[in-house]
Amino acid sequence: MSASAVHSLWTTAATAAEPISKINAPKIEYGQLSPTLIVIGAAVIGVLVEAFVPRKSRYYAQVFVAVVALAAAFAAVVALAAGGYGTTKAHIAAMGAIAVDGPSLFLQGTILLAGILGVFTFAERRLDPEAHGNRVDSFAAQAASVPGSDSEKAAVKAGFTTTEVFPLLLFAISGMLVFPSANDLLTLFIALEVFSLPLYLLCAVARRKRLMSQEAAVKYFLLGAFASAFTLFGIALLYGYAGSVSYATIAHVVDGTVTNVDPALAGTMGNDVLLLIGMALIVMGLLFKVGAVPFHMWTPDVYQGAPTPVTGFMAAATKVAAFGALLRLLYVVLPGLRWDWRPVMWAVAIVTMLGGAIVAITQTDIKRLLAYSSIAHAGFILAGVIATSPDGVSSVLFYLAAYSFVTIGAFAVVTLVRDAGGEATHLSKWAGLGRRSPLVAAVFAVFLLSFAGIPLTSGFAGKFAVFKAAAEGGAGVLVVVGVLSSAIAAFFYIRVIVLMFFSEPKPEGPTVAVPSPLTTTAIAVGVAVTLVLGVAPQYFLNLASQAGVFVR
């Protein structure tokens, strides 16, 4: 970089006598950002509720606020989509920070619905036996107090409950809403942190098995922060490469179609090493969030340790948000780099599919099992991402929608199977469940079959869509690997079914708690979506394919 250019910076600044007020005020399309804004607002209200509403009624207030807010946000999304913002009127809002287009609206809708179901499972208070006459949910009475300490006993006795989880959830959701629609790297990073931090906390506040819960939180937090540091560094490098963090600009620079190159930038701009490393690091950060091998190792531990409602929500919503962001990054920013990132993504997809499926075989804890299965599914979705075609986008969107509902439903069922120590997550305890309570077992079997991708379930439709897109995108090998790994995966889903239906029930086996309408709704919706998307997916496929176009 030449000294003259640097000098010119100051000189222009000096000669610019007129005040800085020339900077015209930012223009924010509040209407189009309403979904996010509503949720954030609700989250803030939630905080105020914590501050001012008396303890007894906080729970109800929080649940009310959360549900209403999410519903409203969803309504807003629908309204926007109906208003054509998903298709014709799709554009960049908020000074280029946020893209309002098909994918964002579709994913925001999915996240919001998942969020509502999440709130339901969070709010479930009938599963655990009452403590001192107070209904309790699956969160610690007082997260700060040491497990088993007097202070905790006191808290339980006083009937405290951690109602903060609801605002935290809302904050997380708001971050997730922004994440897939972020249109510059800074927004991306902020959104990432906004939805990650609350999740870290939520992981730590389990009522039972607190040590595991806290350990999960620590692991999640450290690794998450580690990953986001990489992401940030990647962002920095990309900024260095393109001189801007806005997707459009970077894309232009990548394509070499950038207009009026500032001579000052000529030095670093177009330095592909920066570009490639930066891209790799950002992608890595996103792959961490979706739990792709080799960035997956947090998944099993966190899924197992976190309170099951949190796990369910996290497993569903995080994947949706992260894949949305990944899609936008690869399709909007880096399409010019296809030939660089596709081979890498191929490799990642393959090891993810196989790794997840293979390791899952020998798992003995249902939550860990589902964790590994979620890893395998991340691999399948990656196969669709790699297709780099409109079909690829829509298939991924569809898959995410289908997958998130199955996941929430499955984890909701996990919360029901309990013994003295809380949830009985060890597989051996599930033996003969089909004999004790056929209905619950059958429902869980439906979810498992959907995970396994058996026809007439949403899992099959999604898998087919993704593989089809991949094959059309010329990734036939991925399809074959995917098929093989789903064969392997089938084995452990089947194993659970065998356990539930064909093994004799253990005398000291767990009991199935009768849930409140809340969890019941969550599960019912899960089953319904699973079957509907399996038998008559056309409507949603249309939705997805309409939503399959990014704005740039």
Binding site: A144, R210, M212, F233, A236, Y239, G243, D301
Partner: protein
């Protein structure tokens, strides 16, 4: 002085931070190393912003500090609660869940 050197320094810091994460046991120290990595990122932003002659990088640096601060809050909360229940902040002790 050529601002590119700042990039080298940043990369160095980032690597040191990363290495620290990998080798240190105490959760606090690990966390500090992560902060170090974030700082390296900030330095990079600023350096580039200097080189490109636009202010985006510097603004981003401010955002990053805020985020880092938030992270500290959350992080410390978690680590402290872990320490209180285990009387140890060693990340290696926190390995109940494995396999």
């Amino acid at each position: 002085m050529n601002p590119v050197n700042y990039l080298y320094l940043a990369a160095l810091l980032f690597t040191i931070g990363a290495t620290g994460v990998l080798i240190r046991r105490n959760a606090i120290v690990v966390f500090m190393c992560i902060e170090l990595m974030l700082n390296a990122c900030n330095l990079t932003f600023v350096a580039f912003s200097r080189m490109h002659g636009n202010l985006d990088g510097q603004i981003i640096a401010f955002f990053t500090m805020v985020v880092a601060a938030a992270e500290v809050v959350v992080g410390l909360a978690i680590i402290v609660s872990l320490f209180r229940s285990r009387h140890s902040a060693s990340v290696d002790d926190a390995s109940l869940m494995k396999l």
